[in-house]
């Protein structure tokens, strides 16, 4: 939901205020600010308060000694993240998959949104949107079974076709070669509808007079898309992409754990930070190490989002976040 709201405001982010002006605004728009208050409170309680828990990442957490009295261990809890050659694999997988997801979200979803917008038959357009949006509501567990129905080596749909064609069955869950493609496909299938609706919402909000003027000047539909829709959509694309870049070190656990059925032989291409941490901690059950991983991800995420924003602001000040 956060993203939808942000889209509508994304373009308006400019300028700085002096303090008195800020207070004046506060008084003038107290109703609006009051409306923001509950969300802000939830954010504080939900996201800022638990940040105190970060100290656990630097402690040898003992239940009996409790939160404050456990012994400090420095960076000991972080060691396992870099302890083996797994560190390279999981970092590479995490980043490469996310880059792929971001590119697809910014291209396929935008393209779809534009197509939806251009569809003259509104009813059909709504129908397609609905269909595309549906996977968004399915949990990864459900999706993992849909994928399993396709890929199961005994009774999978795809192997069934392969056998009919006289080909060998493929044991999908032990063949690493296919998984980068499968994961990207599945992720695209789940998220594209959602992303495209956000873009569509922005497109619908554009002032129709631009298009009318362009039509009067004899611009073709394609030219209208290129010269009006696209430039006006740019800020939205930037903001959404920036948010995703900020999460480049975070992955969808369900996608990489459930959809792959936690199958060992394909870890090389499916192991990401979350799954690595999960598997490591299911064994040791160490709260300190789990927090260390979360902390590490958050720090890297912050650095990445700051850098990305800096670069964007260098290129086009209007489109940067802050």
């Amino acid at each position: 939901m956060a993203e939808i709201q942000k889209v509508t405001v994304g373009k308006a982010v400019t300028g700085r205020r002096t303090r008195p002006a800020f207070i004046r605004e506060l008084i003038k728009n107290k109703v609006l600010f009051l409306m923001m208050l509950p969300g802000l409170l939830v954010l504080l309680v939900n996201n800022y308060l638990p940040m105190l828990g970060i100290v656990i990442a630097f402690k040898d957490y003992n239940y009996a000694k409790g939160f404050w009295k456990s012994d400090w261990v420095g960076f000991e809890n972080f060691r396992y993240l870099f302890n083996s050659n797994a560190a390279f694999t999981i970092t590479r997988n995490t980043i490469l998959y996310n880059v792929a997801f971001i590119i697809i979200a910014a291209t396929v979803a935008v393209a779809l949104a534009i197509i939806f917008n251009e569809l003259l038959n509104r009813k059909l357009s709504k129908f397609y949107q609905g269909i595309m949006f549906l996977p968004y509501f399915l949990s990864w567990v459900v999706i993992s079974y849909l994928v399993f129905a396709l890929l199961s080596s005994d009774m999978g749909f795809i192997n069934g076709i392969l056998v009919k064609l006289g080909k060998e069955r493929i044991n999908w869950y032990v063949e690493p070669a296919f998984w980068p493609l499968i994961i990207v496909l599945v992720n695209t299938w789940k998220w594209t509808g959602y992303d495209s609706i956000i873009y569509l919402a922005a497109i619908i909000g554009f002032d129709k007079s631009y298009y009318e003027a362009a039509a009067v000047d004899g611009a073709t539909r394609f030219q209208q898309i290129k010269m009006i829709t696209f430039p006006m959509l740019m800020p939205v694309i930037t903001v959404l992409t920036l948010i995703k870049v900020g999460r480049i070190f975070f992955t969808d656990f369900g996608l990489f754990y459930n959809v792959t059925r936690n199958s060992g032989p394909i870890y090389d291409v499916t192991n990401v930070i979350e799954t690595y941490v999960f598997r490591a901690l299911r064994q040791t059950g160490d709260v300190g190490m789990a927090s260390a991983a979360g902390f590490y991800q958050a720090v890297i995420g912050l650095i990445v989002v700051l850098t990305a924003n800096y670069i964007v602001s260098k290129i086009d000040k209007e489109n940067s976040l802050f």
Binding site: Q5, V9, G10, A12, V13, R17, E25, K28, L32, M36, G39, L43, N46, N47, P50, G53, I54, I56, A57, Y61, N62, Y63, A64, K65, G66, F67, W68, Y80, S84, N85, A86, S153, D154, R169, Y173, G246, F250, N262, S263, G264, P265, Y267, N271, Y276, R279, A280, R282, Q283, T284, G285, D286, V287, S291, G294, F295, Q297, G301, L302, L321, F322
Partner: protein, 502 residues
């Protein structure tokens, strides 16, 4: 107005942007400081005891059992009982990890070396030390268990849990579906090792559609027949040979035996005797319960086949392969611990004492209510009652003193004598009583675990070729720091031997 809107927008954007970044750090469970034990000598005020244990999930009639137990417990220890069963596999483990980490108050929980890990929880202060409580409130249980169980489950001389009084030894072997044996006239006396099953598996594969010849699952595969004397947790290499004399901790995956075993399993897999997606099956009991398995590898004891036949409703028979040994697997294989968050640890201990010594209470929780869930045939023998489907946990080995359990009429009336004999015949493993403290190498173990998950489930189900992948696995173990783990195991084992003179 426009300015105000912009400002508001900026604020909103900041809020959302921050939430995008901050929201990612998983909220760490904030913990309340551990409570000191409640004051002792209160004159038995009514209390509620919560008990978490593992099994086939919560039984339908569990409320009735609780009511019945509460009536009985009121006069004895003035406590009411709340039973909560979580399912095998990840559910019990995950639920308990969350509850322990969030310091939720509860009284008793099941713990072992294979679920809700005993050693990790104990050293982290999740369980109460029970030595004094046991002396004071459970002297009979203490006498009942004897030295093997009690010292075998100690960590540095402290008992953090009470073992169930059950078989002391294990023997790996096969559990085989009786009706298929009869149908094809297989001679099970010829089965002395895994390879001996091959001709039977071939027949099953050819003649029985929809039945998998051999069950091989992650953690419950024929690989278990290697029967290593494991040190520490199951999923961390570094073991002893059962007949070791020099007490040298070895990486079991470097041995030629392991390679040979994996090759055999691979051969069976390729011949189609093993389910093709075995490596990713997570529901351990589904195929067995549906009768879709001809043979499965199990940890056996007298009457394991009869116990399983009772749960599944069709007949199994068992074939021992490895000689019976007493290991830490048994002595720490099924225990009840008292949580350090328990508001009433004394009462919890009184309850456990009663539960381990009182046949009525023990059988109530094991089999339900007489005349409803079971019917008595004679003094110590019962059979299924009309409502057996609504309460049939089938986990006698977990619930305290198993020697109190009524026998089913289908079971061998000599079951408990056979148990005694089985216990007496078994030899202790060399590391019996040694508990490995994994804290000094927990970073390495976390990395080793990932390598294990990557290769072992696939190797032990035959899904990948061992000749190609076992060397790769060994390489990744090395990179993860297995040498350090093994050295630590060796060090602690040597110290332990010096201390105990073994």
């Amino acid at each position: 107005m426009k300015k105000a809107k912009k400002l508001l927008c900026l604020a909103l954007v900041l809020v959302f942007a921050l939430s995008a970044v901050v929201g990612c750090s998983k909220p760490t469970p904030a913990a309340a400081p551990a409570e000191g034990t409640a004051s002792a000598a209160e004159e038995l005020k009514p209390v509620e005891l919560t008990w978490y244990f593992i099994g086939n999930g919560q039984q339908e009639d569990v409320k009735l059992i609780e009511e019945e137990a509460n009536k009985y417990l009121k006069d004895k220890i003035n406590a009411t009982l709340k039973l909560q069963c979580y399912a095998w596999g990840a559910e019990y483990d995950d639920k308990l990890k969350q509850m322990i980490a969030s310091r939720q108050p509860f009284d008793i929980c099941f713990t072992s070396n294979w679920a809700n890990n005993y050693q990790q929880n104990a050293v982290k202060g999740a369980f109460l030390p029970l030595n004094e409580l046991m002396d004071k409130y459970a002297p009979k249980t203490k006498a009942l268990l004897g030295a093997d169980f009690l010292s075998g489950s100690q960590i540095d001389g402290i008992n953090y849990a009470i073992p169930a009084n059950k078989e002391k030894a294990h023997s790996w072997g096969f559990i085989i579906k009786q009706d298929l044996v009869d149908k094809y006239g297989f001679d099970l006396s010829t089965v002395k090792k895994l390879e001996d099953l091959e001709p039977m598996l071939k027949v099953i594969k050819e003649k029985e559609t929809g039945v998998y010849g051999l069950e091989a699952l992650d953690g419950e595969s024929p690989y278990k027949l290697m029967d290593w004397d494991t040190i520490g947790d199951d999923k961390c290499p570094g073991v002893l040979y059962n007949d070791t004399t020099d007490f040298k901790v070895i990486n079991e995956f470097e041995t030629p035996e392991a390679m040979a075993m994996f090759k055999t399993i691979r051969k069976f897999y390729q011949a189609g005797y093993i389910r093709q997606d075995a490596a990713t099956v997570t529901d351990y009991n589904a195929d067995e319960a549906a009768g879709k398995i001809f043979a499965a590898t199990k940890s056996l004891k007298p009457g394991k086949d009869a116990e399983m036949s009772l749960t599944h409703g069709f007949k199994w028979t068992q074939v021992y392969i490895t000689p019976p040994v007493i290991s830490n697997r048994e002595t720490t294989g099924s225990m009840q611990a008292i949580s350090s968050t328990s508001p009433n640890p004394e009462r919890a201990m009184m309850f456990l004492e009663l539960f381990n010594t009182d046949p009525y209470l023990n059988n109530l929780i094991n089999y339900g209510i007489e005349g409803k869930h079971y019917v008595k045939v004679s003094d110590n023998v019962k059979k299924a009652g009309p409502d057996v489907a609504k309460y049939n946990p089938g986990t006698g080995w977990m619930f305290g003193n198993q020697f109190l359990n009524f026998l089913d009429e289908s079971e061998d009336p000599k079951k408990w004598e056979l148990f005694e004999k089985f216990n007496a015949d078994a030899k202790g493993t060399k590391s019996l009583g040694f508990v490995f403290d994994s804290t000094p190498v927990k970073n390495e173990i976390a990395a080793v675990q990932n390598a294990w998950d990557k290769y072992v489930p696939a190797l032990e189900t035959g899904s990948i070729d061992p000749e190609q992948n076992l060397p790769k696995f060994l390489g990744e173990l090395k990179a993860a720091g297995i040498d350090k783990v093994i050295a630590e195991k060796q060090k602690q084992l040597d110290e332990w031997r010096k201390k105990t003179g073994k």
